[in-house]
């Protein structure tokens, strides 16, 4: 599914809205370790990483909510999504036990983290802290 998204992005060209109200894609699915290195660790902008699983109910609530709040930040922060069953090595490397686990990353370092569901205000505060700090 992530590959279809990438293809559409390619075909759509820069700046075209792809299903988000903010006019640019807010979240991408990490493809592999290399992709994570390039787009998260080496990202110029701060990144929130959403570790989730197919079998996790709360993840299905948090994911879209976090995406929505990220979109509100007008491109100042990027969101990466990691399915822990597809990318178990990554999840283990970042010591993910329960899901959803969200990491705030800046310049390759984990600067903040939370586990479980948060409401929109809490997410906004989390993101603002990451951007501002």
């Amino acid at each position: 599914m992530a590959q279809r998204l990438a293809l559409r992005r390619l075909l759509a060209g820069p700046g075209r809205a792809l299903g988000t109200s903010a006019g640019r894609p807010s979240a991408f699915n990490v493809q592999d370790g290399g992709d994570f290195q390039e787009r998260v660790v080496n990202s110029a902008k701060p990144v929130v990483v959403d570790f989730h699983a197919q079998w996790c109910g709360p993840c299905k609530i948090l994911g879209p909510r976090l995406e929505k709040m990220v979109a509100k930040q007008e491109g100042k922060v990027v969101m990466a999504k990691v399915d822990i069953d597809d990318h178990t090595d990554l999840a283990i490397e970042y010591e993910v036990s329960a899901v959803p686990t969200v990491l705030a990353m800046k310049n390759g370092d984990v600067v903040d983290k939370f586990v479980g569901i948060k409401d929109e205000d809490q997410l906004e505060a989390f993101l603002k802290k990451l951007i501002g700090a």
Binding site: A53, Q54, W55, C56, G57, I84, D85, T88, I92, S97, V99
Partner: protein, 485 residues
């Protein structure tokens, strides 16, 4: 396997370097699953959840009599149930990964086989091979469902390995077999509203108390499950492809030449399970197995004939095929090997429960085994039917639930067999298993005061007369000398 887990966690506790090789060879239909073994993925856990789904269906019907009002007929959605069950299993798979990591156990999703003494080869799903050596090895490879060996079995039939993640409702189902797997699956499928037939070669629940087994079968039959007795399938053909498709089953009588045919959407094979011991290189290291059954004989320390190789779980010869037994055996084994303990696993008086529509809990001897071991004149059987209070208002069966206690007269009327047929049989049985382990006698049972109103109190001699749910005691005369009271 989950058993591997309990044991490796134990070993890691003693700061031993531990590795787990877990690999699931896909089913003939291509199905596979994550870390945790049979119980977690394709056994106890999904079974009990689906059994619960069926019980809830019954509860919905009962609820109308208790005042709940809902106008439409209530239907069941297979996909919703299966997705929820698989999601829970997914969380368990992940939980085990995390637990292994926390205990610093190395985990490889690879197929392990011995290649020479002290050495295993691990092959992952991409075919990459690695060699590992170790001081000691523990085999806990479990079993997989047996196939009939008839035309069409692997192509068209499913097993319990496929059922719990089936991506479509099985529809009209033929269950082949009379094991607890067969009866439990038939039970919940029927409870979800499906048309179910069970094809039985000879008896039900071989190895279990046959009096109880027959009561279970009767109950299932009275509640809409069809039984075809003394027939075995000889051919399965596909009439139409689909999800589900349509299958034609041809079966032959075990008693003569009669041949019958039937059409079903799904054929579920539950005729037994075979140990996964034939292709793991046991010959390379000299581990003896029972050639006929594939099972591994071990001593009372779970050690094979090769001193540095141990075995646990369903693959053991002459042991019970139960998850808690394997877990306990594994835990004690590691404590003995690395913790200086001497306790051996106690395989006697292990309680168990069969989650058929009418649940059956048991601990100790079946009536026939008790008679064989102690002599008919030396045992006393106390039994009673009971009517759960919750079944009175909705007018459910008042004479199907049943409890039976077998005592050894020669040994202070010690309770040597406990059998209960009724709701929550597992919950009822667990406590009595502990009492039996402590040497429970009939007198102690009698002097225990009952909890009222619960089903379990029928197992205690109750003197309270309760309208419409009288637990009355009949003493089944097994001897010629005892008195009637």
């Amino acid at each position: 396997a989950m058993l591997l887990f309990s044991r490796v966690n134990e070993a890691a506790k003693y700061e031993k370097k531990v590795m787990v090789l877990d690999f699931v060879t896909p089913t003939p239909l291509g199905n596979s699953w994550g870390l945790g073994g049979t119980c977690v993925n394709v056994g106890c856990i999904p079974k009990k959840l689906m059994h619960q789904a069926a019980l809830l269906g019954q509860a919905l019907q009962d609820s109308r009599k208790f005042g709940w009002q809902f106008p439409e007929e209530v239907k069941h959605n297979w996909m919703t149930m299966t997705e929820s069950v698989q999601n829970y299993i997914g969380s368990l798979n992940w939980g085990y990964r995390v637990a292994l990591r926390e205990k610093k156990v190395t985990y490889e999703n690879a197929y392990g086989e011995f290649v020479q003494p002290h050495t295993v080869k691990a092959t992952n799903k991409r075919g990459v091979e690695k060699l590992y050596t170790a001081e000691r090895f523990l085999i806990a490879t479990g079993e997989r469902p047996r196939y009939l060996g008839i035309p069409g079995d692997k192509e068209y039939c499913i097993s319990s390995d496929d059922l719990f993640s089936l991506p479509y409702c099985p529809g009209k189902t033929l269950v082949v077999g009379a094991s607890y797997v067969a009866l439990e699956c038939a039970g919940f499928l029927a409870g979800l509203g499906l048309d179910v037939t069970v094809m039985v070669r000879s008896i039900l629940l071989r190895g279990f108390d046959q009096d109880m087994a027959n009561k279970i079968g009767e109950y299932m039959e009275e509640h809409g499950i069809k039984f075809i007795r003394e027939f075995v399938p000889i051919k399965v053909e596909q009439i139409e492809e689909g999800t589900p498709g349509r299958l034609k089953v041809t079966a032959k009588s075990t008693k003569g030449n009669e041949v019958i045919e039937g059409e079903y959407n799904t054929v579920l094979l539950a005729i037994g399970r075979d140990a996964c011991t034939r292709k793991i290189g046991l010959d390379k290291v000299g581990v003896k197995i029972n050639e006929k059954t594939g099972k591994i004989p071990v001593n009372d320390m779970e050690q094979t004939n090769v001193p540095y190789i141990y075995a646990i779980g369903d693959i053991l010869q002459d042991r019970l095929e139960l998850t808690p037994v394997a877990i306990q055996a594994g835990r004690l084994l590691v404590q003995r090997l690395y913790g200086g303990a001497t306790t051996k696993c106690d395989y006697v008086n292990v309680p168990t429960t069969v989650f058929t529509p009418l649940e059956y809990g048991a601990c100790g001897y079946s009536e026939e085994n008790a008679i064989q071991k102690f002599g008919e004149e030396n045992i006393e059987v106390y039994h009673s039917h009971f009517w759960p209070l919750e079944w009175t208002v909705p007018s459910r069966d008042n004479n199907k639930c049943y409890a039976k206690i077998i005592c050894n007269i020669r040994d202070n009327e010690r309770v040597i067999g406990f059998h209960v047929l009724g709701p929550n049989a597992g919950e009822v049985t667990q406590g009595f298993a502990a009492a039996i382990k402590c040497g429970l006698t009939k007198e102690q049972l009698d002097s225990t005061i009952g909890i009222h109103p619960v089903c379990a109190e029928v197992c205690i001699r109750s003197h309270l007369p309760i309208p419409a749910s009288v637990a009355f005691w009949d003493k089944l005369l097994e001897t010629q000398t005892s008195e009637f009271y």
